[in-house]
Each structure stands twice: as structure tokens, then as C-alpha cells.
Point group: C2
């Protein structure tokens, strides 16, 4: 008898709790969709600050913007955390031209992030390969003194476009060093995009230790096809590559942080974040202006609807995800030094596109809990709650107890914008962007209410 | 013993069948994503033909385009089916201006489809209401001689934006007649959109029998707000409305049809379709250039991969969904007259956006079958297989046996474009559009293989 009374009581309280959760999540979505401010904040970041590569003046202006916006929301505290970042400058707008017996053409190219410059222009023959493996299989004399052109496309059959990016990414990260090992003097890559257009996409390259640093740039997908076609007609094709980019000494910038103090466990933290830096092209709208404005919006929503969190909710706008993850590494180091317990971190860095759910890097218990919340998110068309990638910035926080969550979005358009002049405010849809912020706020609320990992 | 052998055999053949289905669907997606032509076809329809309201010269050109494209794919037959359609012309670009003691302003407005013109300009005071019910509750003297301004927004909390449209749609369809019943001389509506912008959205209005036809136009969401604010400051606000639109006698145009003849049951048909007509603004890209080009692409894909369907697969480009559904009504009538059995019809008319699954109007058995295919579509991120709305054009085919399927897509951006100058080719993403065609071809294949309704 007692047992069944307990059961009735428990069912009742679980029922009540689900009802409260459902009502709270409805309030969160209402505030986001009716009074949302993240889209207007994004407009200001994109249009008034613009792109903001770490180490640049614009990155400093972005930090000021972040402090100003969060102070405007009267959070419990807003501050910056010093982060040392690289300082690389693109220099003049790059142009790459080829000339063969059959034709000649100039392309609108972009140096890869971190590339060395060319001093004067390089003139060299081009050898095209489809992959790093194909390059490795070539005899050195075929490559020596040439520009290696990695013409590898992202696989259109991978419906998860992040996986398609992951499958082609090596030509950008390792291509230049692999080419240098064979004696190449320069490197060109087909842009990492699924679109067939004239936008060239940059992104960081990593020179390997002890390998000659050779200049490297990306061609748009259309230009990569044109170059490949020109090589078919005449493989004695001279390419002129002139890059004026340069690496300067590292500088101090910082993560921008705002928080609502926890009412029960102020010393324990739930982080929500994205990265404030972008590449130095376009406006860094989807990558990752949307993530930082959504993270700020989570705090604004929770504060506006009068929610008093048990734990400290902290928005972190990380400085320098793109070229070394200094923001994420520094944050995790400081947290460890301060012995500050983090129970969860949520990142949005897949673009301000229609949210589909959350990926989890965590344990079985966290996964079961996340999946138990699926019905609460169903009215908002979130359906994907699976183990998976969370985010670069929050990655260094990984330990045995923290749950790392990544906002999972409809990824079909993302790589059309990513790291290119096409990543501008106009290509972000207000509703898609705002729904992501609401989903993140909903998850923060649920974790704050139901945290049981300890 | 026999039983278990039968069981093993059955499991084996079911396993084999699922394997074959999975491989076929992979071929379909491969063909669509690697060699897809629907996006280029859409470009030509949008840019070379342009918008194509039924009854217009452009609608005829669109029919010619449809015949030409499908003949180019060497289908078993391509033909047109005569359809009588209305002929309404917008006339000159509309402008609506207000003047009050406090301010004056002109707005870029659009007449609602089917609206009468104003002969000369109308000058009348404006009365704002939030709904038809609010209008009904007003005494006649408050409305008589005025322009009724329906300032009703779509509900942003409805994540299914089609439902939000359905909830506000009455101001466009019934608003003018309801206003006329109270003695109003004109009608303005806030555009049916979730965006906060300057695009005015048209769409058909239905005058009720025996009620005076008054001129009606839509304001953009931003202009509706401005007008409402001006009315707060001064409710003696004169609005000048000048519409030169006009209804002409009905004309003959037609549905454009292409088919691959069935190899086993040529007399039984699976239809895949969208509507060829659009409103006379923008380019009719998402509404419904994407649906017609996807429908054609389904045939192209199946033919290219060498699939021989058991049933006849027919693409129908319906003429005039927007203003009376003549294409759909005529098609269903002709099918009935010819006693032609249709086992399924699939429509795409929700925009060329990321597909999420299919809605079904059908019976329990069809629903169970559709849901049993979910695992086959999971690799392609389709997850929604539910009872729901299929499409206007195929609706008249409804009977006790047919399965009517609607491609379900991510609807967040759709009403930003719908019926406005913003519905242009550039706002369709190639990959999102193409994935819809692949999903439709996959469903056609599965129905063709596994049809068991009879």
C-alpha cells in the first residue's frame, strides 16, 4: 500500500515537473520569438564591427561590443579573460593567374590562414592531385619546384555536411606541408564547400615542424574546375601566385564573459558559448556571430522571464577558435587553476540555421537524461539527441563528469558561407537563428533544474 | 521445421529486399546530388520565363518550357491537358499613401489576387482591426465608408509556419467580403509573413456571392506597423488607394504532363507534381518552381539510373493552383472520366527547403507502410512520416484507396518568400532543393515496388 502511494506521489511530482518544464520552455520560446534580440545584435556585430580575425583591431572592437551588449543586459557580472592569440595579416587582396599556350586567366583567390607570403610573385608549373595520398604516391621529381593543386571536393553524398568537410579538410590543414615535403614551392586547394560558385574559402593551415613553409591559397570551386580543365588542355601551365600575408608576434586579447550568478550553487557553472573571432573575410555571420549572439540571448531570455538559476549560467565569447583554439584552451586552463566545477557546456558553432537537437559528448547517464527531454522539445521540432561532436571551444573542458553539448542544426547551406565573403548577415534567417537561441536556453534551463551527475 | 525454413526464407527475402531498396535509394541520391539538373531547370524557369500567373502569356511560356524540358529527357510521353483558368491582371504598380495631420507616407503595396480595381483613386479613413471577429463586433457606422485595415500577424510561436499561415489566412481570403458587409469601401491587410521587412505579399482573395466587391491590397509587415503607429497618433487618417487590376474572361491553358510507362501495370498511375503557375510577383521560385522542377527531376533520375517502374510514373505540372485550383480539379475530373486508377500522388508545394519527410493523407495501412520505410530514409536525414496535409493540386484525387503524400520541409524561411518579390531563384539553395527531389524519387520507387493497397 505504502509503495503504491509512493508511486502515485512520485508519478504526480514527475508529472508536475514535466508540466512546469513544458511551461518554462514555452516561456523561453515566447520571449525569443516575440521579443528576441539576438538577430539585431548579430546585425550590429556584422555591420558595425565586421569580420574580426583574432589579433586584429576588429577583434578588439568585437570584444568591446560583447562587453557593451552584455552590460546592457545588466547581468551579475561581465568581464574579459586575457588570451594570447596569433596575429596574422592577409595583406593585399590576392590574385592568382595562370598562363598556358592555350589560355590564361586570373582568379580571385584567398591565402589560407597562417600562410607565409611569397615575397615577390612565384611563377611555377602546376601539378594537380585529388588527395594527399595521390601526392605521396608521386615521385619527387614530378612535384619539385611546382605548385601542388589539391583538387579534392567534399563528398556531396554525405548528408551531414560536417562529415563531408571532415573528409576533405586534410588538404587545407596538411596539404601545404605535404606538398613541401615533396619539394613544392606553393600550394593551391579547391575551396572546402559544396556550392558550385565563385567564392573562395579560407581557413587555417598547420605547417608541420621542420618542414619548409610554402605559400598556400584557396580557389573557388568554379575556379578549381576551370584550372583543372586548363591543365587537361596544357599541363605546362605557369601559375603566378603573389601573397603578401604575414605572421606578426602574438598579442593579448581575451574571452568576453557574462554571467547570471547561481542562487543555490553559485560556485558551479553551466557554460553556453560560441567564438567571437572569425576569419578576415565576409562578416563572420554564421561562423560564429550567430553562436555568440545566441549565447548572449540565452542569458537575456532567462533573465527577462525572471528565471533564477540554481547554478551560475555563464556566456563565454571565446577569442580565437579559428587559428589555434587559444580561447578554449585558456578558458579550460583558468577553470582548472581556479578549481571551478563546470557541470555542463553548450556550444553553437554550426551556423544560425534551423536547430534539430543537441549532440552530446558525455556519459551514458547524461545521454539518457538528454533523451528523456526529447518530448519537451518535440513541439519545437527538435528531434536529434545523440552522442556526437560538441564544439572546438568547449572541447578542452572535457573531463569525466562534464556534459558537453553541441547545438545540432540543418547543415545543408552552412559550407556555402563558411570562411568566405558569402558569410554575411543577410544570409542568416532571423527565425532560424532565434530558434537556436531558444533551444539552447531550454537546454540550459533543464540542466539547471535536473542536474544529477553528482 | 518447415515453418522455420519458411521463416528463414522470408527473413532472407525481406532482408534482401531492404538491401535492394537501400541500394536503389542510394543510387537515386547519388544521381541527384552528383548529376542533378533540377536546380539549373529552376534557374531557367525563374530567369527566362519569370513569374507566371495563370491566364498570362508567361504561363503559356512556362507550359512550353515544361514540354521542352520533359521532351529533352525522352520520356515515354509528354503532353498537355487543357485547363480553363481565370485571367486577372494587376495593371500598374500599386502605391498606397496616407495623410494625417501628423504625418504622411506612401507604401509599396500589392493588390490581392482577384481584387477589383478602384477606377479612380479611393480616399477614405482607415479603421484598424486585429481580426475578422473584431470587425464583426464593431457597429456598422464605425466601418461604413472606410477602408478596413486587418493588422493580424501570423503567430510566431507556431513552429510549423504553415499552421501560422493557416491561422492568419482568413484576413486575406475573407477579409474584403467581411469588410464590405459592414459598408467598407476598401480593404488593406498586413502581409502573411513571419519576416519583419518591406516585402508586400499578395495571394488570392475570395469574394463572397452577393457581397459588394471592394478593392483589397496587402502592406508589408513593416508598413503595417508604420500605418498602425500613424493611426495611434491620428485616427483621422486618410488613405489613398489606387488599384488598376482587372478580371478578364477565362482562358484555356493547361497542365503539362510527362510520364514513364509502367512495365507491369501501365494503366495504373503514380503521380508526382507541383504547380506551374505562380503569383505575378517575384519569380515563383519556392512557390512552386521548386515543386515542378523536383517532379520533373524524379522522372529524370529514375530514367537515368535505368529503373523500370511497374506502374506508370507521371509528373504533372498543374496549371493554376493559386487562384481556384483549376489544374488539380481538372486533372481529377479527367482521371475519373477515363476511369484511370491512381495508386498514389506526391506533391511538393512547401518550397525547395531541406526535406524532413512526408505527410500522408491516406489509410492506416498506407501510414504503416510509409513509417516502415523510415529506416531507409534515415541516412538522408528524413525523420517525419506522419498523417498530414499533402497538397492543393493533388487534393481532388482523394478517394478511399489512393495515398496522397506531401513533401514535408523545414518551413522556417518559407513565408519570407511566399507570394512576394522576394521569391526569387537566388533564395533557393541547390542542395536543399535537390534533396527534396531525391526524397520524392525514393518514395516513388518504394511505392512502385511495394504497392499492396489492392
Amino acid at each position: 500500500m505504502k509503495k503504491s502511494i509512493l508511486f502515485i506521489f512520485l508519478s504526480f511530482s514527475i508529472g508536475m515537473s514535466a508540466q512546469t518544464d513544458s511551461a518554462m520552455i514555452a516561456s523561453i520560446y515566447q520571449e525569443a520569438l516575440v521579443n528576441g534580440e539576438c538577430y539585431e545584435n548579430l546585425r550590429v556585430l556584422c555591420k558595425d564591427v565586421g569580420n574580426r580575425i583574432a589579433g586584429s583591431k576588429n577583434a578588439e572592437r568585437a570584444m568591446e561590443w560583447g562587453v557593451r551588449v552584455m552590460k546592457g543586459y545588466a547581468l551579475d557580472s561581465v568581464y574579459t579573460m586575457p588570451v594570447e592569440v596569433p596575429h596574422w595579416e592577409r595583406g593585399k587582396k590576392e590574385v592568382g593567374c595562370y598562363a598556358s599556350k592555350k589560355s590564361n586567366e586570373c582568379f580571385d583567390i584567398v591565402a589560407l590562414g597562417g600562410s607565409v607570403g611569397t615575397d615577390n610573385a612565384i611563377n611555377a608549373y602546376v601539378i594537380e592531385v585529388k588527395s594527399i595520398q595521390q601526392l605521396r604516391d608521386l615521385p619527387e621529381e614530378k612535384v619539385k619546384g611546382k605548385i601542388v593543386f589539391f583538387n579534392k571536393a567534399m563528398d556531396p553524398m554525405l548528408i551531414n555536411t560536417g562529415a563531408a568537410y571532415g573528409g576533405a579538410y586534410d588538404i587545407r590543414s596538411d596539404g601545404p606541408s605535404e606538398a613541401a615535403k615533396k619539394g613544392a614551392v606553393g600550394c593551391l586547394i579547391r575551396s572546402l564547400t559544396l556550392a558550385d560558385d565563385k567564392f573562395a574559402h579560407t581557413g587555417g593551415t598547420q605547417y608541420q615542424d621542420g618542414v619548409t613553409k610554402i605559400p598556400a591559397a584557396a580557389l573557388s570551386s568554379v575556379d578549381a574546375r576551370l584550372l583543372s580543365q586548363a591543365l587537361v588542355k596544357d599541363n605546362e601551365l605557369l601559375f603566378t601566385l603573389h601573397l603578401t600575408c604575414k605572421l606578426f608576434p602574438r598579442v593579448m586579447q581575451g574571452n568576453v564573459i557574462g554571467e547570471i550568478r547561481g542562487s543555490v550553487h553559485p560556485e558551479k557553472v553551466i557554460v553556453v558559448g560560441g567564438h567571437l573571432d572569425s576569419w578576415d573575410v565576409g562578416e563572420g555571420a554564421h561562423d560564429d556571430g550567430t553562436g555568440v549572439t545566441q549565447s548572449i540571448e540565452v542569458l537575456r531570455i532567462l533573465k527577462t522571464i525572471g528565471y533564477k538559476p540554481k547554478y551560475t549560467i555563464r556566456a563565454v565569447l571565446f577569442m580565437n577558435e579559428e587559428f589555434g583554439n587559444d580561447g578554449g584552451e585558456t578558458y579550460a586552463r583558468v577553470v582548472k587553476e581556479m578549481n571551478e566545477e563546470h557541470i555542463a557546456a553548450i556550444e553553437s558553432d554550426g551556423g544560425g540555421l534551423t536547430p534539430q537537437g543537441f549532440n552530446l559528448q558525455g556519459n551514458e547517464k547524461q545521454l539518457a537524461q538528454l533523451q528523456s527531454w526529447a518530448p519537451l522539445f518535440e513541439p519545437y521540432q527538435l528531434f536529434r539527441f545523440k552522442p556526437g561532436w560538441s564544439g572546438v571551444d568547449i572541447g578542452p573542458l572535457k573531463n569525466d563528469t562534464i556534459g558537453l553539448y553541441g547545438l545540432s542544426v540543418d547543415s545543408q547551406r552552412y559550407f556555402d558561407f563558411h570562411h568566405s565573403n558569402n558569410d554575411i548577415f543577410e544570409n542568416v534567417n532571423k527565425r532560424e537563428h532565434t530558434l537556436g537561441a531558444a533551444a539552447m536556453a531550454g537546454l540550459v534551463y533543464l540542466i539547471d533544474q535536473h542536474e544529477t551527475s553528482k
